[in-house]
């Protein structure tokens, strides 16, 4: 199969393993299989271009983590 990847500011390429939508914001759940890095980015619109940005707060991060868990907890059979 194929997955979309995205390159972040650290120069590493991350697989987009899932997306979560909350309060009309879209979040990308990202993982790098080589370095076991995991992170979340928010999709924002800047000058009519889709960009990623880091999250605003720890609460936002935790909230998206919870939503991601809820979405996938039954999916790994």
């Amino acid at each position: 199969m194929e997955l979309y990847t995205i390159k972040l500011e650290d120069g590493k390429e991350y697989y987009i393993i899932d997306t979560v939508v909350n309060d009309n914001n879209k979040y990308l759940i990202l993982a790098n299989d080589e370095t076991d890095d995991f992170t979340i980015r928010k999709v924002v619109n800047v000058d009519n271009k889709e960009c990623t940005t880091k999250l605003d707060s720890k609460e936002e991060f935790t909230n998206i983590l919870k939503m991601y868990h809820e979405k996938n907890k039954d999916g790994l059979k």
Partner: protein, 340 residues
């Protein structure tokens, strides 16, 4: 999945390891959410959590990695470790420090399905650990929670070292004694927690432990159920593994549901209707009259409740075999990992 604790000789720090392969990662995430996450709600808990390490095994088995850690070779597996501080708190802090928008440029890349599963599992484990930190900030009941987390982690560690069939039986026996003394609220909590810990998150073992604890009490059946499950209703947090067991009638429904799942009762049968009616009547009696609901039921409803108790006994017998086999396997694995 294995859980071990290890104290490092130079720093004296005690680390709490969860070792899992990727297939089990969902269980690891649930384990943390349902157990540790529920307790990690204070500053002291934060220090414990900082020492919580999750190993996602790659080419080695859970047993082999457990041996590595017990023998001081965990650094060999360093690339597969999730350090809480790295992947949750600190990563968030870093995110707050550096924030700028980057245009999205996506591309497609082939990947094995198994690897996708691993990545999702990996993310789930991180999510579970990350949520601990959310909980840290979510409560102010520090003294109470400090006590709980210390007890919990300590128990978990000692349990892992000494757990065997006899030990589990002893815990269950202790629970019976505790159940007979209904004076202290803490004892109720201990009963529930001990049962949960003995069962180690395994739903079948939880069921068995409950049946076992209730079955052997010298009270009549319904009093025993009242003692144990009122305990749970009062003291066990709803989101522990016992979700749904909140009062006696829920327990009866729990038995009925499990009987259906195990094909002991057909959902379309008249027997099922009788049992369900009896449970409904039990609920009504409990709400509208004092004393034991059972004693105020009609003879036919009493017979239905007795039938349910009989089903519980049958399930206990069936589960007993599973319980024994599982425990023996765990003892063997532990002895083998110690080179015995």
């Amino acid at each position: 999945m294995a859980v071990i604790t290890k104290k490092y000789p130079y720093t004296g720090d005690e680390y709490f390891f969860i070792i899992s392969n990727q297939k089990e990662c969902k269980e690891v995430a649930s384990y943390i959410f349902n157990k540790a996450g529920d307790f990690l709600t204070s500053k002291e808990a934060l220090s414990h959590a900082a020492r919580l390490l999750i190993y996602l095994t790659k080419d080695k088995s859970v047993k082999e990695v457990t041996e590595d850690i017990l023998n001081g070779r965990e650094d060999e597996r360093i690339d597969s470790i999730l350090r809480v501080e790295k992947y949750s708190y600190l990563s968030v802090k870093k995110q707050e420090d550096e924030k700028k928008a980057i245009p999205i440029k996506v591309s497609k890349k082939p990947i094995l399905t198994a690897k996708v599963k691993k990545l999702i599992a990996f993310g789930l484990a991180v999510a579970a650990v990350g949520t601990i930190y959310g909980n840290v900030k979510a409560t102010k009941k520090e003294n109470e929670d400090n006590h709980q987390i210390s007890t919990y982690i300590g128990k978990l560690g000692s349990e892992v070292d000494s757990e065997d069939y006899t030990y589990n039986r002893n815990i269950i026996d202790q629970n019976k004694r505790k159940a007979l003394d209904n004076t202290y609220l803490l004892d109720y909590q201990s009963i529930a927690m001990d049962i949960l810990e003995v069962a180690n998150g395994n739903p079948d073992l939880i069921e068995l432990c409950f049946y076992d604890a209730y079955q052997n009490l010298d009270y009549d059946k319904l009093t025993a159920i009242d003692n144990i499950f009122t305990t749970l209703k009062l003291n066990v947090r709803d989101d522990l593994a016992l979700e749904g067991i909140k009062d006696d009638s829920v327990y009866l429904e729990y038995v009925l549901d499990n009987a259906v799942k195990r094909n002991l009762v057909d959902e379309s049968s008249s027997l099922y209707s009788h049992l369900q009616n009896a449970i409904n009547n039990y609920k009504n009696v409990r709400l509208t009259s004092s004393g034991m609901p059972y004693n105020n039921l009609s003879d036919s409803d009493k017979a239905s409740i007795d039938k349910l108790m009989g089903l519980a006994e049958k399930m206990k017998k069936d589960l007993g075999e599973t319980y024994k086999v599982l425990l023996e396997a765990r003892v063997n694995e532990r002895e083998s990992s110690r080179g015995l």
